[in-house]
Symmetry: C2
C-alpha cells in the first residue's frame, strides 16, 4: 500500500539499511556485487527516496527559497524563470514566495522559509535605493546559516552578494538621448515612486537634466504604477496639466504602451510631436506602433547570475560576497525623434 522505504530495499537485497543507503548515494566503497543487488532491489520496488527524511537526517535540505515581489510582473517572472532552470539543474528544490508587493507578507514569508530550514534564499525586490523596513530581517538571515543572494534589491554596507542592473545610469542615458535631440520639457512617468519603486531611475533622470542645465520640475514627475492602464491615465492627466511637454521618459515598457495610447488619443504624433522612451526592453516593445525606444535590461542574465552566485556560495563555506552590477543599453527605435518645438 504505502510507498517502499529504504528498509524494504535493504531487506530485498539482503543487506543492511546503511549499505543500501551508501549504494544509492554513491558514497563509500561497496563491492560491485552488492551494489548491483541493491540497485536491482530498488528498481524492482520502484523505490523513490523520501526527501523529507533525507533532509532531516542530513541537516541539509537542498531547498532554496525564491522570494519575488510579484509573478504577475513579467520582469520578475522572467528573472525567476531563468533562475529556477539553473537551480533545478543543480538538483535543488525551490520553494516560491510571492510577496505581492506587500511588506508584511515579505516578513511572514521570511519566517516560513526559516521554518523550512532552506539552505539558501534568492531575494528579489524593488531596488529602491532607500532603506527598506525589512532590511534588518535580511541582515539576520546569514547569521542563521542561510546563504542569501539579493537581486534588484539594495542593502547598504552588507557583505551579502547583490545583483542588479544599473538603472540609474540607464535612466541617465535615456534622458541624455532626449536632451541631445533638443528636448527640454521632459516629463517622467515613474512606477510606485512613493514606495521607491523607481527611485534610482528618477535619480538618473534628474542627474541628466541637471547636466543639461534644465531645472527639475517635480510637477513633471508622475506615478503610473507599472501598468499599461496606469501609464495611460497618468499621461492623459499630465497632458491636460502640461500640454507643452515634448518628451516622456517612462520607467518601464509596460507603462509605455499606455502612454503611447494616451498620446495618440489626444492627437499627438510620436515622435513628431512628442518623443517617448521606455525602460526594460520587453519582447513586445520592438513591435509597438511606433516601435519603442527603450533601455535594455538584461533580465535573463540577472537570473542566471543570481543562480550562479547562490550555487557557488552553497558549495563553499566561504562567504564570497560579490556584488554584480549589470550594464544597461540604450536602444533607439522609432518613438524618439528631434524636438520640433522652439522654446
Amino acid at each position: 500500500m504505502s510507498r517502499p522505504t529504504l528498509a524494504d530495499v535493504a531487506r530485498l537485497a539482503g543487506v543492511a539499511i546503511s549499505t543500501a543507503s551508501v549504494v544509492l548515494n554513491n558514497k563509500g566503497r561497496v563491492s560491485p556485487a552488492t551494489r548491483a543487488q541493491v540497485q536491482a532491489a530498488a528498481q524492482a520496488l520502484g523505490y523513490q527516496p523520501n526527501a523529507v527524511a533525507r533532509r532531516l537526517a542530513s541537516r541539509r535540505t537542498n531547498i532554496v527559497a525564491v522570494v519575488v515581489p510579484s509573478l504577475a510582473n513579467p520582469f520578475f517572472a522572467t528573472i525567476v524563470h531563468e533562475l529556477q532552470g539553473r537551480l533545478l539543474d543543480a538538483g535543488l528544490d525551490i520553494i516560491m514566495y510571492d510577496t505581492e508587493d506587500d511588506v508584511q507578507l515579505e516578513a511572514k514569508h521570511t519566517e516560513s522559509l526559516l521554518r523550512n530550514r532552506v539552505d539558501g534564499v534568492v531575494f528579489i525586490g524593488q531596488h529602491t535605493g532607500m532603506e527598506h523596513p525589512n532590511d534588518q530581517i535580511l541582515r539576520e538571515l546569514p547569521e542563521q546559516g542561510v546563504k542569501l543572494v539579493l537581486v534588484e534589491r539594495e542593502l547598504s554596507e552588507s557583505p551579502i552578494p547583490q545583483i542588479y542592473a544599473d538603472k540609474e545610469e540607464g535612466a541617465r542615458s535615456a534622458v541624455r538621448h532626449l536632451v541631445s535631440l533638443g528636448h527640454r520639457r521632459i516629463a517622467m512617468v515613474g512606477g510606485f515612486l512613493s514606495m521607491g519603486g523607481s527611485f534610482l531611475r528618477r535619480r538618473g533622470y534628474e542627474t541628466a537634466l541637471q547636466e543639461a542645465k534644465i531645472p527639475v520640475d517635480s510637477d513633471l514627475i508622475v506615478d503610473g504604477g507599472f501598468t499599461p492602464l496606469g501609464g495611460y491615465q497618468v499621461t492623459r492627466e499630465l497632458l491636460l496639466r502640461r500640454p507643452g511637454i515634448t518628451a516622456l521618459f517612462v520607467a518601464n515598457d509596460l507603462m509605455s504602451i499606455g502612454v503611447l495610447k494616451a498620446l495618440q488619443e489626444s492627437g499627438k504624433r510620436v515622435p513628431e510631436d512628442v518623443s517617448v522612451i521606455g525602460f526594460d526592453n520587453i519582447p513586445e516593445s520592438r513591435f509597438l506602433n511606433p516601435s519603442l525606444s527603450t533601455v535594455d535590461v538584461p533580465t535573463r542574465r540577472l537570473g542566471q547570475a543570481a543562480a550562479e552566485v547562490l550555487l557557488s556560495s552553497l558549495e563553499d563555506k566561504t562567504t564570497n560576497s560579490r556584488t554584480i552590477v549589470f550594464p544597461v543599453e540604450l536602444i533607439i527605435r522609432d518613438s524618439t525623434g528631434p524636438c520640433n518645438v522652439n522654446i
Copy 2:
C-alpha cells in the same frame, strides 16, 4: 549556536516535549498555567518549529507542487500568481517546477515531486485536446495518494478535477465575429500547432468557417510560436504568400502585437484593409494601436478556482472530481471592422 529545538523549549518550561508540542499545536487539553509557560519559553528562545521534522513525523508535508509550462509566459505566470496567494494563505508551502515546455523535464519534475511527498499538485499545461506523452504519469499520481488538479490540461476519462477556459468556443465566436463583418478569407496564426498548443482554438476556427460554408484552407493556418516576434515573422511571410486575406484570427495577444506591426509595415491599415482579433485579453491589448479586439480569458479566476478545488480536495478524503469550464468573452475593440473587399 544552532537553532532551538522543541526539547529546549520543553526544558525551559519545565514540561515534557510532548506537552510542549501539544501546546504549540493547540491540540489536546492543557492547563492554562502550563500553556502560558510553554508559550513564554518558546517566545524567549525565539523558537521556530522545524518544518522538516514535523513533516516526517506527521506524514503530511503541507506542501503542494505547482507545475507550470513556463513562467516567462505571462498567461501562466498570472495563473500561478493568483494560485499561490490562496495556497500560501492556507498555510501551505509551494514547490515550483517550471517545465520549460519540455516533456522530458515534466516527467523528471514529477518524480521529484513524488520524492518530496507533496500532499497535492496543481498541474498547469498546454490544453491540447490531444493525448500527451505524460498522461499516464498523471493518472498514476492519485494512486500514490497525491491530490491532483489540472489547469488548462485535458485528461480524458479521468476523475481528476480539471479546470480550463473554453478556448474552442472562444475561437469559434471570434471567427464568427469576423464572418459577420463580411470576411471570408480568414487566416489563423496559431502557437505551437505541431505540439497541439492551440489545437482547440484551431478546432473552433474551423468549426466557425464550416458553419459559414467557407472551405478550410490549411495554407492559411500558420504557426507563430506564442511570441510577438513569431507573430511578426509569420505574418510577413503569410502576406507575401497570400496577399488577399482580409482578416486574421491570432491565438494569443502577444503574437497579435507582432501581427499588427507586420501589417502596418506592409502598408495595410487595420481595420480598414485587414481585421485582426486576438486571444487572452492581456492588460496591454486595450492600449495597442489600434486597440485590439480579442477574447477575454479569465486567467485569474482559473488560478483561484484551482486553489479552491485543491484545497477542498486536501481537506476531504473524498475525491470530489469536478471539472470546471470557464466561459470566455468576446471583446470588440478597434482592430476589427467590416470587410471592404468584394470577392
